[in-house]
Every structure is written in structure tokens, then in C-alpha cells.
């Protein structure tokens, strides 16, 4: 079914409530709907047409249409279609229908829209602050166009504290984070624990939100942003830069040269190789199996050297520009890369067969952190988490980009829905990546790396792009704009959805399984700067301010 047929389905069902529709090509669908039927349309798309929820994006469109706009992005994976359901809210009292009660995975996105634009989702089941810091005053919305990027509110309140929900009866609180040896970045899970069993948790993150999206709309230009996008993540940076440029290219209808597409595929797969090997190592470390951790990282290291030879850097490849890429593979490097892949494959085979046979690892990962098909659908979980539950999705095949349509590979799935399944999926995906890079090297023809762009990019066009990051689908949403910069750029990293699945995964599990469950989604969060002490006996909670902490640290008394 192509985009037009999907649109006809919607028109048949909702008639005049479908105000306007754009079909830039057969794989993209933008539907403007009447604000009164958003929930009904989303329910129909999500439940009856069985689309996968991707993200909701808010934009400040007051300059152009006099209203705020909210985009609900869905994916029809089997039809290779990405679709936006678009609605608007009046500028003086912005309110939209809430869809979280229909699509549970939209909860964070709607809270973020409320924080950043002040667009209220009427009837949201849990309208708590999500992204903004605790001290940020109410009623100031950072992503509105009338707020400067460097604005510092005078009413900022250092003393204001985050209020956690009430601890359930009979539970003690075990703070997991903000700083914990198994978290590569700070994030706070407040676990409610009964004995050794986790009964629930509350998450507080986003504390050091870097405002990358705001910067990109104000001080950066189209070709600065790929470098910024790359710095969103220390592991899958190339994914973000590719996803961003693809979104711009889709919006402006640019077709890049084939060699550039192959280069993008090769670097994305090199990134996936190093990321998966890194993750297998970390997962082993989490369950205390350091030998495999070390072996896996030893095997990974030559990939980093190869990336450095091609791009000049182990990470942050600075590969992409709008319309092409900046680096090429020389014939010598091509030979070296082939040798490297052979060696990698021969070293990875014994590791995988050792892991798959190891009862000890299975004991720690089977039936742990379970996210079944239903949960994947409800929360919009993606990547190895979904594939381990037997959900057969992979953007490389479902929403083909770069050179993936010209290569042959399998999408690895598993049926256990647990951490073990995620281990198996990632371990086997390494072989698929090797296969893809080999085919790209075979099929690449000499040619230009960069499209010549002579005209200014048209403004006000919508671009969607989904890239399969090692952790799942990374979705970028761009509205092109004036002055050589986008009007709006929204990044949805895979962890944004997967993290919302974690409370469901760890419920009624042992504390010892928390690490590996959280680790199994390969989380990538922003930072936080909060410390809390909990007095178990009296149940009292005390939150330290930065000043108190400094004083205590200096006095060496406590």
C-alpha cells in the first residue's frame, strides 16, 4: 500500500476533518487534520491501521500561520511510509487533544511539548515537568521563537526542588544514579524496593539539556548542524549527522551522488560494528564477566583505527554535509578494510559461539528485563529491544536510505523478549554489518562525493528521516527555513522511546537485574546534577543543594 492509498483510507474514515494533505513522494505522507479529531485519527492510525508510533513534535508557527503546530509522526514499516498527523493550537491559549491515553509511548513527547512550547495536552495522564530544570520559572517556553537562544530568566530559582511522587507503602527507596558506576552518563532512577525486589520507579533526567535544537534554529547554519548533530551522542554520532542531512535533503528534494550514499552506508556500518562490540563488552561487565568484556574490546579496537584512517578520527567522523560526504575511501584503504573485516569475522565467530553456549550468562539474562511484542507496540520501542521480541523492524530495510537498497542483508530477530534475546540479536548483527560493508566496497563506482547546490534551499518544506542506529531508529524531523538554517529541527534518539519502556521492564525484578535491564537498551541519556540521601529508618528524604554539598565536601566532616 502506498502513501496515497493510506491517505484515501483516512479520507474515507474522517471525510472533511482531513483538511489538507501533502504527498511529496510515495513514501511520505503529511496530513493536516482538524484539531477536534486528532485523537480519533491517531487512534485509527495506531490501532486499526497498526502504524508504529515514532514521536510528537511541537513547532512555533505563529510567524507564518498564527498558531502552534503539533506533528504526530507514525511509521508504516511494512509499506515503507513515514507519516505525520498535523494539527494546530491557537497562539493565545494553546491547547491540543492529548493522545497519550491512546498511544502510551507519546507521554514524554507531549510533556516535552508542554515544557518547551507551552502547548497543553488536554487530559494528559501524567502532566509533570520533564525536560526543563527544576529552577526554570513556569510560563517561559524556551523553544518559542520570541525567546532568544541566550536568554537567562531573572526569576530562575536555585532553591526550587524536584518533587518526587510519593513512595509506595512498604517500599524503601534505592536511588540508582545520578552517578553510578554502571551508568556511563548521569541519570536518576528512584527505585521503590521491597526487600530485593523492585516494585516501581520514577525517572528524572534531562537535567543538562544542551539546547542543541534551539542553537541550530538561531545561530547555526545548514552545514554547521551536521557537526553539532554528531556531538549529540558519543557512540552513534554519525547516525545523527546522517539522519539530519537526510531530513534536509528530503525536505529540499536533493538527490545525492551514489558514491556518497555508499560512503554513508559504510561509515554507518563501521559505527554499528564498534558500537555492538562495545555493548557486548559492557553487558558482560555488568554481569561481572570481565574476560569477555576485555576480549570484545580488544577485537573492537582495530575498527577504531580504521575509522581514524578513513576520516581522521576514531569517533565524530565529520562525514556528512547537506548534499554529500567529505571523505572518500582510497584503493589502499579499501584493501585494508577488507583484511580488517576478515580478521574481525574470524575473531567474532568463536566469541559468539562461546556466548551462545554459556549457561552462566543465560542464567543472568533469560527472563530478565522482559519487553514483549505488546509493550514494544504500546511504548514504541525500537531497535534490538523490539527485534529481540520478534518485532521485525529495521529502518535500513523498511525506510531505505543511503545505499541500503542496493545491498543484501538479513534482519536478525529473536523470540525471547528478554535481555538474552538482545544479546543474541546484537551479537549476530555484527556479521550482517560485515556483509553490508563488503558489498558496498564491491559495488562502489568512482564518482563525485558532493552534489553541487546552486540555489538556496526552499523554505517551509518538511523532511522526515529515520536511520537505524545501533540502538534502534533515530528519527529526525526538519522544517527548512530562511537565512540558510532550518526553522525547526527535532531529534528523536532511540533511547527516548526505549527509556520509557524501562519502568515496565524492571517491575517486580531483583535489584541485581536493574543494571543489565537498563544496559540492555544501550541507554544514551543527557545529564543530571542532583544528589539525594535517604534515611531508611525514618524514611526521610533530604536533597542537598550544590552549596551544601560544596560545604560538606570541603569540611570532610560527614
Amino acid at each position: 500500500m502506498d502513501a496515497r492509498e493510506r491517505l484515501n483510507q483516512l479520507k474515507e474514515k474522517f471525510g472533511p476533518a482531513i483538511v489538507r494533505a501533502d504527498l511529496p513522494d510515495e513514501r511520505r505522507l503529511f496530513v493536516h487534520v482538524d484539531p477536534g479529531v486528532v485523537k480519533a485519527v491517531c487512534r485509527y492510525v495506531f490501532r486499526d491501521l497498526d502504524a508504529r508510533y515514532v514521536i510528537s513534535v511541537g513547532t512555533d508557527d505563529r510567524q507564518y500561520s498564527g498558531s502552534f503546530q503539533v506533528y504526530h509522526d507514525f511509521a508504516f514499516d511494512a509499506d515503507k511510509i513515514l507519516c505525520s498527523i498535523i494539527t494546530h493550537a491557537s497562539s493565545d491559549n494553546p491547547k491540543v487533544e492529548c493522545i497519550s491515553d491512546v498511544v502510551a509511548g507519546a507521554s514524554w513527547a507531549e510533556r516535552e511539548i508542554r515544557d518547551m512550547f507551552g502547548v497543553e495536552s488536554v487530559g494528559h495522564p501524567y502532566p509533570k515537568r520533564l525536560v526543563l530544570t527544576d529552577g526554570w520559572p513556569d510560563g517561559l517556553y524556551p523553544l518559542r521563537k520570541d525567546m532568544d537562544w541566550n536568554f537567562v530568566p531573572k526569576e530562575y530559582d536555585e532553591e526550587r526542588e524536584f518533587k518526587f511522587d510519593e513512595t509506595p507503602a512498604g517500599c524503601t527507596v534505592v536511588p540508582f544514579g545520578p552517578f553510578h558506576p554502571t551508568l556511563d552518563e548521569p541519570a536518576h532512577f528512584r527505585l521503590y524496593v521491597e526487600g530485593e525486589v523492585v516494585r516501581g520507579c520514577e525517572y528524572r533526567g534531562f537535567m543538562v539539556h544542551r539546547g542543541i535544537e534551539k542553537l541550530s534554529e538561531t545561530v547555526l547554519s545548514y552545514n554547521d548542524i551536521p557537526m553539532m548533530a554528531e556531538r549529540i551522542c558519543g557512540i552513534c554520532g554519525c547516525v545523527h549527522s546522517v539522519a539530519y542531512v537526510q531530513a534536509v535533503e528530503a525536505g529540499a528534494a536533493l538527490k545525492i551522488p551514489p558514491r556518497a550514499e555508499y560512503m554513508r552506508s559504510i561509515m554507518l556500518e563501521i559505527e554499528r560494528l564498534h558500537s555492538h562490540l562495545l555493548w557486548v563488552g559492557l553487558a558482560c561487565h555488568l554481569v561481572g564477566f570481565d574476560t569477555l568484556f576485555m576480549q570484545s574490546w580488544r577485537i573492537r579496537e582495530p575498527i577504531m583505527w580504521m575509522a581514524e584512517k578513513i576520516t581522521g578520527n576514531r569517533k565524530t567522523y565529520a562525514l556528512c554535509q547537506v548534499g554529500g560526504v567529505r571523505w572518500d575511501i582510497t584503493p589502499e584503504l579499501r584493501g585494508e578494510l577488507r583484511t580488517l573485516l576478515d580478521k574481525l569475522e574470524s575473531e567474532w565467530i568463536p566469541v559468539v559461539s562461546a556466548v551462545l553456549k554459556d549457561k552462566n550468562i543465560q542464567k543472568r539474562t533469560r527472563d530478565v528485563g522482559v519487553a514483549d511484542k505488546k509493550m514494544c507496540k504500546e511504548m514504541g520501542l525500537v531497535g534490538p529491544v523490539a527485534r529481540a521480541a520478534g518485532v521485525d523492524i529495521d529502518c535500513r530495510r523498511d525506510h531505505p536510505y543511503a545505499a541500503y537498497e542496493r545491498v543484501d542483508f538479513d534482519v536478525i530477530t529473536h523470540d525471547t523478549s528478554d535481555v538474552w534475546g538482545r544479546v543474541v540479536v546484537r551479537a549476530k548483527e555484527v556479521f550482517e554489518s560485515i556483509k553490508i560493508v563488503r558489498q558496498c566496497l564491491d559495488k562502489m563506482e568512482p564518482g563525485p562525493l558532493q552534489l553541487e547546490i546552486t540555489d538556496e534551499l526552499p523554505a517551509g518544506r518538511l523532511g522526515l528521516s529515520s536511520v537505524e542506529a545501533p540502538r534502534g531508529e533515530s528519527h529526525h524531523f526538519v522544517i527548512t527555513g530562511e537565512n540558510n538554517k532550518p526553522r525547526r529541527w527535532r531529534v528523536r534518539a532511540p533511547t527516548y522511546q526505549n527509556l520509557q519502556g524501562v519502568p515496565g521492564m524492571i517491575k517486580d525484578q531483583m535489584i541485581a537485574d536493574m543494571q543489565i535491564s537498563l544496559g540492555s537498551i544501550d541507554p544514551c541519556f543527557s545529564c543530571t546534577d542532583r544528589l539525594e540521601t535517604v534515611d531508611i529508618r525514618s524514611g526521610e528524604t533530604r536533597v542537598w543543594t550544590p552549596e551544601e554539598l560544596k560545604k560538606v565536601a570541603r569540611s570532610k566532616q560527614y
Partner: protein
């Protein structure tokens, strides 16, 4: 009599000195071998000596809810394990033979577990409390195994004397020593837990509860606690040798003594290899495992009381 007392004291001191001197060496061997298994270079073998000296020279910071108890737990843990060292034959016969019997040994072994509890309580953090609850569960299921082994030896020989029990008493039956062999297997399977190494380092589990009871320790106190853990490996190896593989100890001086340390070395290598090839168990899995061993232990005890 005086002569006897003197040899007791000298023997005890000798044991303590040897343990203190050699414990970091074995830790160094353990780290080096682990590194080689993991394709790493690894630290030089004397590294644990350097680490200990460095920590001892650091500032002594008081922290946790009860700094006094924290200090006390530190000293007690080293003292308890060294006291066990005085009771165990280490290449010679047991120096404090007349001063205590096998029952005292059981008490002292429990004491070193108690120190971990005290340390955890003194820190008072959530992680350390989780750690000590795990340690408690482990202790309750694990400690009886040692007691059972000693009682089986005592049943066979009708004696709680240290030099009798700790020279292979578990095998001293008329026919095939069924109970002794069963206990040998049980102790081999649980040895990692007694020396708190992977896959049973659950109460410290760095990646889960950040070293649990040790969370508030630093500087000299940490050095002493770590020292006690290193000594524990040596002392428990010596105990294992005394209980199950005592042969060769009666050889004339340098040979019997050297043979003893060769055995310790082999046990350390064994511990290292097992630790390097296993993932950590979860506490409930470990307890189930220990409980099964305990059941087998009781069967062995029943067999032993029937002369098998």
C-alpha cells in the same frame, strides 16, 4: 611447659608474618593471571604491595554514620583472619594447637563475616545495607558447610584437636571415605564464595551496589580491609589444604613447607581461572545453589555418623 608456650607464640607470629608477607604476592599473581586470560598486559606482580602502601599513606577520612564502628570493623576483620591463621597449619603443624580447637576455628571464621556486617552498618548507605543483607544470606547458608566438614572429621577421629582435624581427618574411615569425598566436592564448588570472588562476590558487586559494605572506605582503612581480603584467600587455601589435601606436610623441613606453598599457589590459580570465566550470580540464584550444597552436606554428615 615454658618451652611449649614459647614455640606456640613464635609459631603463631611466624604464621602471621608469613601471611602478611605473602598475601599481596598471591593477589598479584591472581591479577596477572586474570590479565593474561583477558589478553591484557596486567600490572606487575608486586602491584598489590604498592597499592597497599599507597593507601596506607593517604589521609584517614572519617565517614559514614558511625566512624568509630567503621574503624573497629576494619581492625577486627584483619585480626580475625590472622587469628585463624594462627590456628591453621601452614607447612608446619598448627602453632596454637593446644590453645584452641576446631570449634574456635568455626567461631573465628564467622567473625570475619560479622566484620563485613559491621562495616556495612557503619557506612549506613542504602547500597551498603543491600550489601550486608546479601552477606547475611550468604553467611547463613555458607558457614554451616565448614562446620559440617570439621564435624565429619571429628566424627571419624573422635577428636576436635586442630592437628587431628586439619590433617585429612575427613578421609579417616575404615573403607572408602564417602562423606569425605562428598565434602571435598562441596567445598570445591563453594570455595569461590568463601573467598568472596566471582561468581560469588555478590555482597560487593561493584557494578550493582558499588562495593556494598565497603562503599564509605578509603585510605588506610580501605588498605587494611583489602589486606584482610587478600589474607583471607591464603588462610582459606591453607584451611582447604589442611582439611582435604594434607599429604606431604610431614616431609622434612624445606620440602614439606615448600610443597604447602606450591599447593596454595595451585589453589590461587584455580580461583583465578574460575573467577575469570564466570559471570556474577544473582543473590537468589546463589542462595539456591548454596542451599543445594548444604543439603548434600547434611547427607554427608548422616553418612559420616554411620561410619562411612
Amino acid at each position: 611447659m615454658d618451652n611449649n608456650l614459647l614455640s606456640m607464640i613464635l609459631g603463631g607470629v611466624a604464621n602471621v608474618v608469613v601471611i602478611l608477607l605473602l598475601a599481596p604476592f598471591f593477589q598479584g599473581v591472581l591479577r596477572k593471571v586474570t590479565a593474561r586470560i583477558q589478553s591484557r598486559q596486567g600490572p606487575p606482580i608486586p602491584q598489590p604491595y604498592y597499592d597497599t602502601f599507597k593507601l596506607l599513606g593517604k589521609e584517614d577520612i572519617e565517614s559514614g554514620v558511625s566512624p568509630r564502628m567503621q574503624r573497629f570493623a576494619t581492625y577486627l576483620s584483619l585480626a580475625a583472619i590472622l587469628a585463624v591463621g594462627c590456628l591453621v597449619p601452614m607447612g608446619f603443624h598448627s602453632p596454637m594447637n593446644g590453645a584452641g580447637d576446631a570449634v574456635l576455628l568455626i567461631y573465628l571464621l564467622t567473625l570475619s563475616g560479622i566484620c563485613v556486617l559491621l562495616a556495612g552498618l557503619a557506612a549506613g548507605s542504602t547500597y551498603s545495607l543491600v550489601g550486608i543483607s546479601r552477606e547475611m544470606m550468604t553467611m547463613l547458608t555458607l558457614e554451616p558447610l565448614f562446620a559440617i566438614t570439621i564435624v565429619i572429621g571429628a566424627l571419624h577421629t573422635q577428636s576436635f584437636r586442630l592437628d587431628t582435624v586439619l590433617s585429612g581427618a575427613v578421609y579417616q574411615t575404615a573403607g572408602v571415605p564417602v562423606s569425605g569425598l562428598i565434602m571435598l566436592c562441596v567445598m570445591l564448588l563453594s570455595f569461590q564464595a568463601f573467598v568472596a570472588r566471582l561468581p560469588f562476590d555478590i555482597s560487593e558487586a561493584e557494578t550493582e551496589i558499588m562495593e556494598g559494605p565497603l562503599i564509605e572506605y578509603s585510605g588506610p582503612k580501605l588498605a587494611i580491609f583489602k589486606y584482610a581480603q587478600m589474607a583471607k584467600l591464603v588462610v582459606f587455601s591453607a584451611l582447604f589444604i589442611g582439611l582435604f589435601v594434607p599429604w606431604g606436610s610431614e616431609l622434612p623441613f624445606p620440602f614439606g613447607w615448600l610443597l604447602f606453598w606450591v599447593k596454595v599457589f595451585v589453589i590461587v590459580i584455580l580461583v583465578t581461572v574460575v573467577a575469570a570465566t564466570h559471570a556474577r550470580y544473582r543473590i537468589d540464584q546463589a542462595i539456591r545453589f548454596f542451599a543445594a550444597l548444604l543439603g548434600v552436606g547434611f547427607v554427608a554428615l548422616i553418612l559420616a555418623s554411620n561410619g562411612l
